[in-house]
């Protein structure tokens, strides 16, 4: 298995990278290469030109801006997992990063690459949907700020135009009212998920839920937002029966496809159980560990 021939340019500026890809419809950016190179080797992708953005320092770094954390596209999965500023300000992302592929892949794969790749079974898109993140992009027609709910589509599609680059992602900074939960099931830690969920919520001084959102992993043809959680949970002191009701309602709207990992019924149950566990973790309810649903 060898990649087909292509030209390769190491970009020295953002504009040059964008120009090169924009002017050739078969050109592609390459970042960590952890999704693209396997696709080349399997000959599922046949680009004429690869423009390597991994040496652009403007895409690196994580910084606080107002009440958000701005994470550069080239930040590697391993950095999201370990950097103290991410662990403190975006703990859901750090937790999710530990589940993205294996250590060797996390040392190369980039956050921006995972966002642009937009796999329905990937952890970061689900976490970004839960957090209400904003994707910052650049193209020859300028900068765009795209809400995560408008960014991710079905079957690896995103709001990105050809030649448009993910520059950074902004996530709201966690404070003392923020809560999060993450749960995933895969056959082997590091493999793509069979199902999973990322939850982000806020409480008020009285402990009542003021907002809650969840991103679901491997729950449909693309990264998926959980439906109906707000109606059931906002305005309440969330308890186990409220969580059960919210999960049951959400489960009905899910339509994962059957595949080698299981039938659609099984996969729907795995996603729903992951959501239940992630909500339990977020609202600090009992039984998050290894507890099986009796139904």
């Amino acid at each position: 298995m060898k990649p087909p021939p292509f030209d390769y340019v190491v970009a020295t500026s953002l504009d040059q990278a964008i120009d090169l890809v924009s002017s050739d419809e078969d050109a592609k950016f390459i970042a960590g290469g952890q999704s693209l190179i396997p696709l080349l080797s399997l000959r599922f992708a046949r680009p004429t030109l690869l423009v390597d953005i991994s040496r652009l320092s403007v895409l690196r770094g994580v910084r606080s801006v107002a009440d958000a954390l701005n994470i550069g596209a080239s930040t590697r999965h391993a950095d999201i997992e370990r950097l103290p500023v991410v662990r403190e300000c975006a703990p859901l992302l750090s937790a999710a990063a530990g589940w993205v592929a294996h250590a060797q892949i996390r040392n190369r794969g980039t956050f921006g690459g995972a966002v642009a790749h937009s796999d329905s079974a990937a952890e970061f898109p689900a976490a970004l949907l839960a957090m209400g993140a904003t994707i910052v992009t650049r193209s020859s027609s300028g900068e765009r700020r795209i809400p995560s709910t408008q960014f991710f589509g079905a079957h690896f599609q995103t709001a990105l135009q050809h030649g448009e680059l993910v520059v950074a992602v902004e996530v709201p900074t966690a404070d003392r009212f923020s809560r999060w939960g993450f749960s995933e099931f895969a056959r082997r830690k590091g493999d793509y998920a069979i199902g999973g969920a990322a939850v982000s919520a806020r409480l008020n001084e009285d402990g009542e839920c003021t907002s809650v959102r969840a991103g679901l992993i491997a729950a449909g043809p693309g990264p998926t937002s959980a439906e109906g959680l707000e109606e059931t949970l906002v305005g309440h002191l969330v308890d186990e029966s409220a969580v059960d009701a919210a999960v049951a309602q959400c489960e009905r709207s899910l339509s994962p496809e059957s595949n080698v990992h299981g039938s659609k019924e099984y996969r729907r149950a795995v996603v729903a159980e992951s959501l239940r566990r992630a909500l339990h973790q977020a609202f600090d309810l009992g039984g998050t560990q290894d507890e099986r649903r009796s139904a």
């Binding site: 298995m1 060898k2 990649p3 087909p4 021939p5 292509f6 030209d7 390769y8 190491v10 290469g33 952890q34 190179i37 396997p38 080349l40 080797s41 399997l42 690869l50 390597d52 991994s54 391993a78 592929a101 294996h102 250590a103 060797q104 892949i105 040392n107 190369r108 082997r188 830690k189 590091g190």
Partner: protein, 164 residues
């Protein structure tokens, strides 16, 4: 495309086609065939090498992407006739049968060994979760890793005591 890499402390410059995978570069251009190639799409871990000290899969990297970077392959482990501590432990605990996965296992564990981190069996299993072995059933690999990592940690603690 001109590519300059340092492998196991030695500098190499080669003119390579952009599509050449790093794993093929090491094996075919440099003759370093210790790095094994199993799946060639990032799943099995047998091609693991260190890039600037961190484990990466050499089959999911282009050789040209390693320009001006530092690589370590399994050939860089033993010095002269002395096996590396990890290799000694794999020998002592029967951590290999056919040996195909072994270079990848060793290179994955090497940074942990160098940091002298003591891991539990669960943490060891997590650390090698990206490396497939078709022979051993993993038990002896976990034992080998535990022996090597414990020895490295003992040595580091002994050294710290001696200095203190």
């Amino acid at each position: 495309m001109k590519t300059h890499v340092t492998v196991n402390g030695e500098g190499y410059e080669r003119d390579v086609e952009p599509r050449m995978l790093l794993s093929d570069f090491l094996r075919h251009e440099l003759g370093l065939t210790g790095t094994n190639v199993g799946c060639e799409h990032g799943v099995c871990g047998s091609c693991t090498v260190l890039l600037d000290g961190e484990p990466v899969r050499s089959c999911t990297m282009l050789a040209v992407q390693s320009d001006r970077r530092r690589l370590t392959t399994v050939e860089g482990l033993a010095c002269e006739e002395n096996l590396h501590g990890l290799q000694e432990a794999f020998t002592a605990c029967h951590g290999l049968q056919c040996g195909f996965c072994t270079p990848g296992m060793l290179m994955t564990l090497l940074p942990i060994y160098n940091e002298a981190r003591r891991l539990t069996d669960d943490e060891i299993r997590d650390a090698i979760s990206g490396n497939l072995c078709r022979c051993t059933g993993y038990q002896q690999i976990v034992e080998s890793a535990r022996k090597a990592l414990d020895e490295a940690a003992d040595l580091a603690e002994f050294g710290a005591d001696a200095e203190g």
